[in-house]
Amino acid sequence: MGRGRDSPRARRIPTAAVAALALVLVLAVGAPSAFATPVRGSVALQAAPAAPAAPFRAGVTWDGTNVSSAHSPTTAFTLTPGQKARVFFGYVEPVTQGPHVTNASLTLTYLGVVIESSITPAHPTPQSLAGAGFAEINWSFGSLYQVIEGAFQLTASLLDKNGSTVWSEPFYVDARAPYSLESGFVVVLLILFVLEAYYIAAAFRTARGGRRASPPPPSAPPPVPPASPAAGEATPPPENTSAGTPPGGPS
């Protein structure tokens, strides 16, 4: 009987313990992210209180959208040919010491090679916040837009006076060539694809071709006519000579 009364309590205590543990976990995981969210990638920097020893903060927008939303090729910003994107940099740096941002740059890399880079000077705004500033780049592919298509990585960076990177954030852009699918590289790739598929199909046909075109089973060898002494004369077939008909045939 006692066991019957204890078992619901024993069932209730682990439930309460699990609930308390879940609450602690939620608080432990949620609190740092709640504090970190306004710090990282925030562009509305004027709303944040300016502490003297505040850490360096920066953010970039692409036509008004934070670039952290384009962190993968599938969520990349679409850039049509001839379009210019307005890339806005905002930052707050510590007043006492720390990096002094002088330039903002936007770099396009492909296969590890920098294809295009744009650098613009940063403008400090002493009247709003000490150590705050902004920069703006109207960015496009330039002359590369004729041949470039697909997903590319852009890196937004803030540079100090020595040219070293103070802060950077990569994001992705999906570029569209003027004729979209008819872009030259895509056409070459599609032709190569079809060609290689044909070669593979031919190799498969060769690999299994022996089964279809298998040689017939060996039969009796064909009769070999005896060698005639006079090469120029036409010898009548042996059937005709055995039948006794004249070589010229019945007239």
């Binding site: 599938t74 890399t109 590319f152 999906d174 694809f193 593979i200 498969f204 690999a207 089964r211």
Partner: protein, 78 residues
């Protein structure tokens, strides 16, 4: 050149082409060297192994299906 090696070589090229096509259609980005080499190596290895293996399997099937038919033909004639 055997059919298997031919299919494997074409499969390597096809794997590389597929990786570049995926980049062109916006599914992957070949930005850094490490990522690019990784994607291209995976495409080449998978393409070569897949189509080379299929060709080897097809030729193996042919030889195994030919073996009983040749044994049914009796002793070889001089």
């Amino acid at each position: 050149m055997s059919a298997a090696s031919s299919a494997s070589a074409s499969g390597v090229v096809l794997g590389l082409v597929v990786v570049f096509l995926l980049q062109q259609f916006g599914y992957i980005a070949l930005s850094s060297v490490l990522t690019s080499v990784l994607y291209l190596a995976i495409g080449a290895i998978v393409g070569g192994a897949l189509f080379g293996g299929i060709a080897v399997g097809l030729s193996h099937r042919r030889t195994t299906s030919e073996a009983p038919s040749s044994s049914q033909q009796g002793p070889a004639r001089p």
